[in-house]
Assembly symmetry: D2
Homo-oligomer: 446 residues x 4
């Protein structure tokens, strides 16, 4: 098979090389030929075509296909299946020529090849999800008690731990793994229906051939052909979309923590990685960049897949073809984000000291809730809110620690003495259910 | 609760009234108050707040809230939770005032209320999906042997049956029901984490309160708070997106079959329904119109939900608020499409005679494949293809039946005699595995 | 006209009240009635209907319409125009009853009313764009020389000024104003074609009535009816989409500068604004939150509008109805983002001292390029890059100023003496073309 | 430059070959090298770098670049500009090595190369738009009086002419040409700002170099660098989105008219074009298929571009990279739809007889409005509506012509005699303003 030698310019940066290969033109055509070979064998077994015809077809399907000729011929035919069948027939020994593609339609071979591509991609995803799960579980365990500031709406809020943050990421990955498992049996199914989805040309032997063919390809056998019922492939698109969002959230968090102004984490170094052409001192967050790019680009692609479900009658006009470039790109991008996320988490450099420094940057203001909650049983939540709000304002305007402003307040002093305040202003004393949450997330990761 | 009396102009037409109520402002605020009441009760039970405080809060939460005041105050506060808690506190007896919203954050109440809305919507969906499933199963059984032309790329292709077409629709609905069942336990969970997701203000009693609260609300207890892990709500959005596409496919098929030029089916009549203001003779396909409108609008909304997953740290800036109007609209539109589809299928008028007429409209050309497949064992598939293609061209150019053109061909005549051709040109004799497919789809619908 | 009294819960927070009114149900129906009145007057003037018929219709169109009845009836009819015409006829004096809606079709009145809504929204946009332009111009002038760190990929890069940053924002707004001006004459046109777009029922008087009607409504007269040529309305959607992105970029920048960890700017204070229910010390960036929410939600809505262009024949099935809820929401959201952006810029509190502090936070590393560029004429760009990269690594690993690490390097010392280095490390000395750029942006804003 | 020999599998079918070349990896890298060469020449002219340095760089930029090495190195660097500059430097003679990429940043070269790609694509678009405009104008003129049925909601409505339908298509293309002209000067501008957009490294000579560089490349000079102000590129995306919708509407109409059940038009034949692998008699609407596929896929891509506007500070993290694969794909797909539309219109086979046949298919029901309008001056519009509605029902239930049912009605008979009815039932007599509309659309096309 004559193939392009050079990778697409942005592929090594943005796509998992395994998925790049699976979702390439070559990856598609190979699987289309695989379908034709399996079809021949299944039909021979079911007595639909002669055994030596099948043998000839199987042999021909193993030979190279000139991709340039195929691509050019597709332009006229309207899809690559028609010329591929013609080219395959031409290179099949005479015994098989009559029986190439027997009873199948263009969409049978293209859809089944797509499902085989999806299967192989999902296998790559599965491996990387487990890799990411393991890395996140390790990180969560390691930093479960490392205090850092929790941030809401990009403002310092209350203390949390870095392990609590990564436990949230981990829980998202756990659910992705769960979703993948549920989806696989539903979506990895054969497409085989013939020209109008009735397998008319196989007479009574349609079910037998289908069963055999599905088994040979390692796919499930669907209830009926699904040429214009696209919910299965769209479901895989949605899976990619949800997963990419989960990864995007991780990358957003890390990119914000990586800001020069925050400095709590940094992407792992590698020679030649993330350098800036003009600013020699910088280490750019390359992985976050790609993950976030993917999270930006994927929703639109999923929308296309959703929109392309409205397909006419027994073979759609337009909407099916809308999938051809969209779904592969969706898998390519998702794969790159997932692989980058593995690298990102495994190589992440964590700066505990800076986390602690940032926690203290607001002079105790982030402990305001702790004080308020301690005060509330005495004064009620609203009054406590007002008291602490006032103290906070004083702390800000006079540029003093909240601890000091609180101590000055006569009403508060009635309820909380110095020892109580000392304890209240220790961040690690105000972590609530963090341990329980982390344990639960880790348990699901096993 | 002062509420808008007038329905939104397009709601009765485009939204299931039950979902319209659930996903209304009133539906949200009622569930927010329900959360606050349940929280008070759970905290009383766990010994966090006094029992009479809880009682006072529960009583206050049952009172009306002025929606205009709430909406106006939300504008300043940035979300409706802050002023709602303030208003609820103001109408709570003194014993409870100190303990309203204890330990919770704005997003806890808003997210949990959203999950309760989703739960109630999914219940409506579930009912309508089963209703639609039943209607489609009945239709499939009834028309399983009603021959009609199968169409690919909007061209007449091969015979199929109307029941085979509806079996395809049915199979999609079967899978939607299956997906719904898988999704429910994962997504219908409590949100409760406090200001930074640690439940810090509850000290050691966070897990106990969570457990109690989840149980009272009839929700699952998540591994950890998910303020910025939005995959669950996004999963429900994807469910809506996939379902709407499945419905859109049905409506597209029906709208095409309803064309004046095709006339195979017609939407059910109702007084005042689908009339045209200027064309008194027309019956407009109102339900198809709305289902297709929804299928056009929903992908963009799902894309928004997917994009909004990238949320910062412990509470997102922007992306969370992007959900507020998007997800309810998504459920509203999906509900309307689903309800219209029930009406559409249940009321559909089917014109068997016209189906048969259309089947014969191409003078036998649609039987070309049958002839080709019958011929292929003798001549090989490619040669058969060429022979039949030629006969077809003759049939078209001379405006005769394909049956006649075929009979004239000397090569074909060697292999297929008159009796064979008679049998080949009977559409119902060329339906392949239709019965097997229909049985399988019906089996899944039970 | 009986109307809902209570505002939609999120409207005061997320929508410009003027646009909220224009794009409400009431706003639509009022303009539909306005169309019917103007149509009657235009037809009377053209001699198509009697003058007293027109008078009666104009009077009736000024009366209230029961929105609940209208909404309910729309559900049966499939759109609100059909029952509105019926209700209007019922409340028209006998002289006019025969001539209500004469020669028009549902989509004529709905589309023209939509164009009138768009016109009024664009007027609001225009005012707010000029307001924002003025505020940004003032801010740019005021802070044109205020040095701050330029950031690329969220890393400190090189010095810039705050006025240079705002000049970039301003230039975007300048282009939005330019685009609006270009778009207006193309999109603000009448829709009037009758049932099949031919104005058949007006005989030869179609053009005369059209001309008159357009003039009365203050709209342009299109080349021909555009019932299924939606590029005009879609163009307004794209305008909203581009504008919202421009605003989103501003909000993203400000929200990042507002981070507790950065502290360079802060949203203006207002009583009750941006408070946190649990963290009394926080001031939440409410406006940024809403602008970013809108920037997240709008692309999906624009995608829907783009997708809805594919409309069938003389009146689309599905795609037109897909616009009904989408375009108004798009204008609503865009209006809110624009209004919030005005408030945001006008009230923004700028912390020059913190900007300077952050500029110095990397111990001179951000001046690395200045040194490299000064060195390059002597050593070549690549060698200079390597030398400065090494010095930067030393500065980081030994935790010293880059100035000091540079001074130690023997090769650099050959080319740059102490005075040269002093000048090189002054940030304001390395601002290149900032003044030229700012002047150009300000000039366009006049 | 080592390049992939084989075209991407779906490119010949779905992409204009000219745009395929422009928007290829090779097309990008060539233009990046063109930028570097022009930069060197501009800087030499402005006295920033020596003349022989510029000469050396220009010579080096004309040499081949190994795309595989470049792609692999991009993966580490995070974008292709960094390694390209390194590779270019390596192949530059010593005199120039120090001055390659002088003062520029990665995004300067990538964005300017993108703008050059866009310019060349828009030129291709412009040519094809004019070609399409001419074909549509000819078709409109030719069929201006060819009666056919107008269809609303896929139902037969009223007579129109085929030329009126194509005039609507033409008017959309006219507006696309107008939009293109407005957009070009705004979007075809240089990107040149250096690392933080200040051109700091060029000192006072930034403006002079910019001016020179823009002129050499044939681009406009923007007010200021626009690294994170993406509205210009997004505007081109929106242009593509609107145009694709306009083309999609044409293809939808044609595909519906091409239905076997309608048969009014047929895509032009070509050897090997649109054949079906299993149905020898079919001619598939290949061009409509691709145009509709594109119209389905493009909105999601535009949404991505809109979403990617929210870019941080002086260089975005994620959102810029989201453009890299999205915008080229958008142009590729749009180009294919446009080229297919040219072929489609130029080759379209029109079946006047079938149009007339279909017009008569409803036994005169489509003339109901004509009768109603003729009746209304006597009875009022509503009464006329009811009378004709009744007659229509009788016509349908008794399966007679409306003409006959109308003639039976005593009330109608009072107002309309036999001659009047004869005239009313002639379709071409009820075409209203069709001629005026067509003339206006043709005038704009000149």
């Amino acid at each position: 098979m004559m193939m392009s030698a050079a990778p697409a310019l942005f592929d090594p940066l943005m796509v998992d090389p395994k998925v790049s290969a699976i979702m390439s033109d070559h990856g598609l055509v190979t699987r289309m030929l695989g379908f034709e070979a399996a079809l021949a064998r299944a039909e021979a077994k079911a007595g639909v075509i002669p055994a030596d015809a099948a043998k000839a077809i199987v042999m021909a399907a193993a030979k190279d296909i000139d991709m340039t000729i195929l691509a050019t011929a597709s332009a006229l035919a309207g899809n690559p299946a028609i010329p591929l069948v013609r080219m395959l027939t031409a290179q099949t020994a005479e015994a098989g020529q009559r029986h190439v593609h027997w009873g199948a339609t263009s969409q049978d071979v293209m859809d089944t090849a797509l499902v085989l591509q999806i299967r192989d991609c999902l296998e790559v995803f599965s491996g990387n999800l487990e890799r990411l799960q393991a890395a996140l579980a390790t990180m969560t365990q390691q930093y479960r008690a490392t205090p850092m500031i929790g941030r809401t709406l990009l403002q310092h809020a209350l203390p949390t731990t870095f392990g609590m943050k990564t436990a949230g990421w981990l829980a998202g990955i756990n659910r992705a793994i769960e979703r993948l498992a549920e989806m696989v049996p539903r979506v990895l199914v054969l497409q085989f229906g013939g020209a109008a989805g009735t397998l008319a040309s196989l007479g009574a032997r349609g079910p037998a051939v289908s069963r055999e063919l599905a088994q040979m390809l390692g796919l499930g056998k669907p209830v009926l052909p699904w040429h214009t019922q696209r919910d299965r492939v769209v479901e895989t698109a949605c899976f990619c979309g949800i997963l990419t969002g989960t990864l995007g959230k991780i990358a957003r968090d890390i990119s914000l923590m990586s800001q020069t102004d925050v400095g709590e984490v940094m992407e792992g170094a590698a020679p030649g990685r993330g350098g800036s052409s003009t600013m020699p001192h910088k280490r750019n967050p390359v992985s976050c960049n790609i993950i976030l790019a993917t999270a930006t680009a994927v929703p639109g692609l999923v929308a296309t897949m959703l929109a392309s479900q409205v397909q006419e009658h027994e073979r759609g006009l337009g909407a099916w073809a809308a999938e051809w470039r969209t779904l592969p790109e969706l898998f390519r991008l998702t794969s790159g984000a997932l692989l980058h996320c593995c690298t990102l988490i495994e190589g992440l450099e964590i700066n505990r000291a800076r986390m602690r420094l940032n926690l203290d940057a607001t002079s105790g203001l982030v402990m305001a809730e702790a004080v308020m909650m301690a005060l509330a049983p005495f004064t009620g939540r609203l009054a406590a809110h007002h008291l602490v709000e006032n103290a906070s304002k004083i702390a800000i305007s006079e540029n003093i620690d909240l601890r000091e402003a609180i101590a000055r307040d006569m009403i508060i002093a009635q309820h909380l003495n110095t020892d109580a305040l000392d304890a209240l202003f220790e961040p690690t004393s105000y972590l609530g259910s963090v341990d329980t949450f982390i344990d639960a997330a880790l348990k699901d990761a096993k």
